[in-house]
Amino acid sequence: MTENANLLFAIVFQLAQLLLVVLAAPLLTGWVNQCQAWLQNRSGAGVLQPYRVLRKLFHKDAVMAHNASPLFRVTPYIVFGCMWLAAAIIPIIAVDLPFSLAADVIALVGVFAVARVFLALAAMDIGTAFGSLGARREMLVSFLAEPALLMVFFTASMISHSTQLPRIVETLAHHQFMLYPSLAFAGLAFLIVLLAENARIPVDNPSTHLELTMIHEAMILEYSARHLALIEWASSLKLFAYISIGIALFLPHGIAEVDNWAGLPLAVVALLVKLMLAGAALAVFEIVSAKLRIFRAPEFLGTAFLLAVLGLLIHFLLGA
């Protein structure tokens, strides 16, 4: 009986997290932007600015190029759906997430890949110079970032003997502050991947436009109104998902364990603190670094890939 009740509770919790991430993701983006503004000695637009932008975009008329194909129109929905799902299956508050049985870490990397491939295809759909430039560069960045992310996950999976996120988080959270040398390398690699995949400095610049250096912005140049809103929202969700992964793998302490529903309030508070710290750290990192030339980016990401493989090798060598 309690088993069933727990399963029901877990499903409810899964749905609650689904709702929570989609609502909270723009807030995190707003927080990072606000931190940056403070660091640059500006007053900033406030943490709620992303919501205002989304609201504005949803109210506008969509403008689309004459030769936009159906692929162009469905892509925002696919990208948004994938990112939403990705952010919803990462255990950040409690490890009871029933859906994570259907998609483990490899599938999570796959979800990110689906969104990326569709976005790149949509960027090429109109046939503008900037669109294909953005698609090409995005794929260039990802072909090194994706295997690096996979290797980071592999290191964590090797430690916990599972590719399921809840099991990984559980194992890592249980070992009280035991330092895994392999995870140190993986953490460094993950940081680089996070920056690259979320179009942050030094690989890309989220606030740039009309520049030959842009990657992500070049891909979504032709989108407007609700489509753009969905893509922007998806970007927030992606940032949220990546920071969640970071928290889940490297700072899982404080998470509510299996069937420990009483630990939820504490877990929520812990998560809030962690998210705020991570967002602020991201802002600081971006402020102190300069953007790389596009052809230095593969070297930067190659470093991430090597670090991640090194982490995995160290796990094999030391068994930790």
Partner: protein
């Protein structure tokens, strides 16, 4: 069933005969090409379907054996249908069903005489491949192997009036025969000099070979089958022969024929040779990794769409070899579950590759038909003119890029799981190799996505790069139905992995004596070891993504207006946009060419700023061709030049040679 005395092997035998009849009928029907198109090819497709069904039946049935009173005296043809053959028959039947349906539409513009001949060769090719899978003695195997090689050679050179195609066919034939000699020698080693009766596979299974000789047999077989599969460095024929052949033929060659080589490696390694050595696995693994990265790297810089797909086939063969290598290593060290897991991944990926690569190749056929253009730099924007082809090819592209929830992802997932579960091998060097290999696989998979975005984006998306593309027509009904079948199998193989894995288990049990067991906890969750370690459910995955997408769509539609205004593209306000400003295939591959520059042999002509008619020319060639093949060619030419010193065409000189030889022989005797 047994009650009526029919075995799967009987059925396959009838189907093969029916294929031969169809080929001959096509030759007779030369005057009425529409009959060949509308009757012979669809019937052939039906035969393929039955063949796949017979293969499925054979998986569960006990092995069937048949001895045909043909062949040499004292050496009749032996046929055997066991689960391994059955699995590859499913692959052959499933892929050729789609390709034959497509052919019914594709060849409609061909003249009757050529078409009749082509149809005969096409069916002989299918028969050859089927018999390769059924053969149970070396002689039968070689006959079938050569039938396959020769009929495909003639199919490749269908447009033999073009010198480049003749050249490509010659290269193909050459490497196929170098490989065939190695396979023959391998059989010779396994036969072990025990008389003519020992050429049956049964005798080879029982033969006790020393480590040295079994290694020799394995290496020869690896070389021979590797030549057919396109393993580095014997891959050079693939990017030449695939573009030369008509698209359905490329589809069969890439989708099915390469898999017969994989079948051969599996058959020799696990069935005919009783025991394996660990270093075989390491060798195969290393070769596979090299081949995979090499293939995908070169695919990224191709401008010709069929060459691109050919290089992508090389990559996939590399992945299959990695799976085989892992299986050998695990099997040798007695890790039965892991061996079964990597063998399952290998077989699954063979099946997947057969489907999506056939789909993509016939897709290029539809494009070729509509535009007459193979060069991606002259295509573009076809999604508007060819919506059906665009949609179906998109399925293939997503599948081959290894994206969930399609089939490419499942086999990749299984392979990565095999890597993840691997620690604990007694040999620490191999243990170190495993993570590096996993990293290389991940890199190759990510690059494959790059290649496929390029393939699809440049061909189907954007603006048409040439005027003629505006008259492009979509695939016809036959072509479409063939592609629909192949796309559906890609989706089905992606969504029902548990069923497929259960079937593959029967093959694993036969080959390595263990399967994944009740790994699949229930019918929706794929869990190779146990659900605690890893599980994946494509069905739930798809449902979740669809549900979330639908919810979003409904919410956005409900809460906001759906107004859309059409306008010229924005593109940062730059008004003078032309189709030539989009990335070409060349441009899209440029970053890869730059990053991996040392691996390519790049020839570039850059115009000077003062050129009135600037022309850019760039070519990235395979270094191996210049390092490995050209020296061999020069050596051969030099040796034949030496031989020609003896040849003068004068009778009295030849008589002198004969006389001299006689004297020498007499001295010795």
């Amino acid at each position: 069933m047994d009650a009526v005395g029919i075995s799967p092997l009987d059925v396959v035998g009838w189907l093969v005969q029916f294929w031969i009849v169809l080929g001959i009928v096509a030759l007779v029907l030369q005057r009425t090409p529409q009959l060949i198109n509308n009757v012979v090819f669809p019937l052939s497709a039906l035969t393929s379907l039955l063949l796949a069904a017979a293969g499925l039946w054979a998986l569960a049935a006990p092995p069937g054996i048949m001895v045909l009173p043909l062949g040499l005296p004292d050496l009749p043809f032996h046929l055997r249908l066991d689960p391994l053959s059955g699995f590859f028959l499913i692959l052959l039947g499933g892929a050729s069903l789609g390709v034959s349906l497509f052919s019914a539409g594709y060849f409609r513009t061909m003249a009757g005489g050529t078409l009749g001949l082509l149809c005969l060769e096409y069916h002989l090719f299918l028969v050859g491949m089927t018999l390769v899978l059924l053969a149970d003695d070396a002689y039968m195997f070689m006959v079938a192997w050569e039938t396959m090689a020769l009929s495909s050679y003639f199919l490749v050179t269908t447009d033999h009036a073009i010198p480049d195609i003749r050249k490509a066919g010659y290269l193909y034939l050459l490497i196929a025969h170098v490989g065939a000699i190695a396979i023959l020698l391998s059989f010779g080693v396994m036969q072990g000099g025990h008389g003519i009766g020992a050429y049956t596979f049964d005798a080879m299974r029982g033969a006790q070979l020393s480590t040295f000789w079994s290694s020799a047999a394995f290496l020869l077989a690896l070389f021979g089958f590797g030549a057919k599969a396109g393993v580095l460095p014997l891959h050079v024929w693939l990017p030449e022969a695939h573009p030369a052949a008509p698209s359905p033929v490329s589809a069969l060659m890439s989708g099915v024929m390469l898999k017969t080589a994989i079948y051969g490696i599996l058959r020799v390694t696990f069935d005919l040779l009783g025991t394996q050595l660990w270093w075989w696995g390491v060798l195969v693994l290393a070769l596979g990794l090299l081949t995979a990265v090499f293939g995908v790297m070169f695919a990224a810089v191709q401008g010709d769409m069929k060459r691109l797909l050919a290089y992508s086939s090389i990559e996939n063969i590399g992945l299959l070899l990695v799976g085989i290598g892992l299986t050998i290593i695990f099997h040798v060290y007695g890790k039965n579950t892991l061996a079964a897991l990597s063998l399952t991944a290998t077989l699954y990926h063979s099946l997947n590759h057969a489907m999506f690569k056939s789909l993509l190749f016939v897709g290029t056929g539809a494009i070729l038909h509509a535009t007459g253009e193979r060069n991606m730099g002259r295509l573009g924007g076809l999604i508007h003119r060819m919506p059906w082809a665009a949609m179906l090819v998109l399925v293939g592209v997503l599948a081959i890029a290894g994206l969930p929830p399609l089939n490419g992802f499942v086999s990749e997932w299984l392979l990565l799981q095999a890597f993840l579960l691997s620690p604990g091998l007694p040999n620490s060097y191999i243990n170190m190799l495993v993570p590096v290999a996993a990293a290389v696989i991940a890199l190759a998979a990510a690059l494959a996505a790059y290649v496929m975005v390029k393939f699809y984006g440049v061909i189907f998306l954007g603006q048409p790069r040439e005027k003629v593309l505006e008259h492009a027509h979509d695939a016809g009904i036959w072509e479409r139905s063939g592609m629909v079948w192949l796309a559906l199998t890609c989706v089905a193989l992606g969504l029902a992995p548990v069923f497929v894995v259960q079937q593959i288990d029967l093959v694993s049990r036969m080959l390595i004596g263990s399967g994944l067991g009740n790994a699949a906890a229930n019918w929706v969750f794929l869990a190779p070891v146990d659900t605690e370690r890893a599980s994946y459910s494509p069905l739930y995955f798809l449902l979740a993504v669809l549900a979330v997408m639908l919810l979003t769509t409904v919410l956005v539609r409900r809460l906001y207006h759906g107004r859309v205004r059409r306008s010229p593209p924005w593109d940062c306000g730059f008004p003078a946009q032309t189709a030539r400003m989009q990335d070409t295939a060349e441009g899209f591959g440029q970053p890869i060419r730059r990053i991996f520059e040392p691996f390519f042999r790049i020839e570039r002509e850059v115009p000077s700023p003062f050129d009135t008619h600037p022309r850019y020319h760039g070519q990235s060639d395979d270094r191996l061709w210049y390092i490995l093949y050209l020296p061999v060619k020069q050596l051969t030419e030099r040796l034949s030049a030496l031989t020609s010193l003896l040849q003068h065409g004068r009778i009295h000189l030849y008589l002198t040679y004969t006389f001299a030889t006689l004297i020498v022989l007499l001295v010795f005797v």
